[in-house]
Amino acid sequence: MCLGIPGQIVEITDESRLMAMADVSGVRREVSVACIADGPLSDLVGAWALIHVGFAMSRIDEDEAAATLEALHALGEVQEELEAMAAGQEAMKEGAEA
């Protein structure tokens, strides 16, 4: 939960809410870029960031992202993060019929 995971911002999805689509190890997930938005949002497209529980918290460079992903793989955290993201999707469906 505290280690987060690097992701690359691929598209701004909602200007007013400061939301963007990120590519996290091949999985797409909408994240908030509020904490790293210190200029025009479009500048963020293509940037890498450390993503914690759905919020891009810190911009990092590509090499840093690769090294961090490698360390997270070794710790088994990449799988955990991706599973948590999938669970988040699942949570929307549960009980939807009720």
Binding site: M1, H52, F55
Partner: protein, 380 residues
Amino acid sequence: MKYADEFRDPKAAKALLERIGAVVDQIGATKEKPVYIMEICGGHTHAIFRYGLDKLTPEGIEFIHGPGCPVCVLPISRVDECVQLAERPEVIFTTFGDAMRVPGTRKSLLQAKADGADIRMVYSPLDALELARRNPDREVVFFGLGFETTTPSTALSIQQAAREGLTNFTVFCNHITVPPPLKALLDDPHMILDGFVGPGHVSMVIGIEPYQFIARDYGKPLVVAGFEPLDLLQSVLMVLEQIRDGRAEIENQYSRVVPDHGNPVSIAAIDDVYETRPSFEWRGLGEIDVSGLRIREKYRAHDAEEKFGIGYGAGPRHVEEPEGCACGQVMTGRIKPVACPQFGKGCTPEMPLGALMVSSEGACAAYYQYGGARVSEVAE
């Protein structure tokens, strides 16, 4: 040194280990008279065990595993309150998966879910917000948990809910802050500590200023560290060099991610939404002054404690730990996990008795998973 070969840069790891060995010798630390270094963050605990850093580093260094795993320090009373909230028929209770198996008095959230409570594991408080939008006739409660790394995410979510006028979104706030428990540990006369490896991602949010008291008032060094193996080794070296030179400073090894002043947007959101509680209970450590956050009056519509009348001020607080559980002693570094009578017997990662066994960031779970030689050595 077989583990060091697995590192991304084995040469660098070996060079660092040699320098660490030399400084340990200069200090004159030995197995009998080690330097005690506390890694505060649970992510660091996990990494130290995963990479076998405790075995690679000289015997003159003893790692003490700090209270930096939010799941591990969650008091039983708060888990009970989660279950109570989740069992309300109108509530959709949303939580990070890590918290599902933390034992409560009656049951864990996992058991409550099995018994029919509507509990959803989410990845982000943003998922909980979305659930609130989609389920206007239900009450969506998000279990806000964690240190300064996750606090901005719930603060920003509450601000967003307020902007949208989402009246069915509340947060059950259990956010805690890193500096106060460090002060409590440093004030404990039984605690022997020579220096700290400071949390990386908490510091990314708050910066390094909040740790200054550790150097200034207690004369101990702290080095903020990344969690890659080379980061940890380099940080340990920096702590040791300070000890050798008789310095006590707050240094930042992880400056490529951690700005000295933290993240201004996050800090502003936290200040806007939260205020400190007079005190907050930590599992194994007891009540610690100004160590927890609560939601400010202006956002009370999004405060689950206010809305559902539970939490602090709504009943007796202290709940005893399960019998035979030594979590408190492990957490303060008094004993190693293997010295707990329940370790690996009544308490395993599959069936945790204490919270330190629940998360991979907990000291007991880390020992259980990676303990190897160190476990048998201590068990003798």
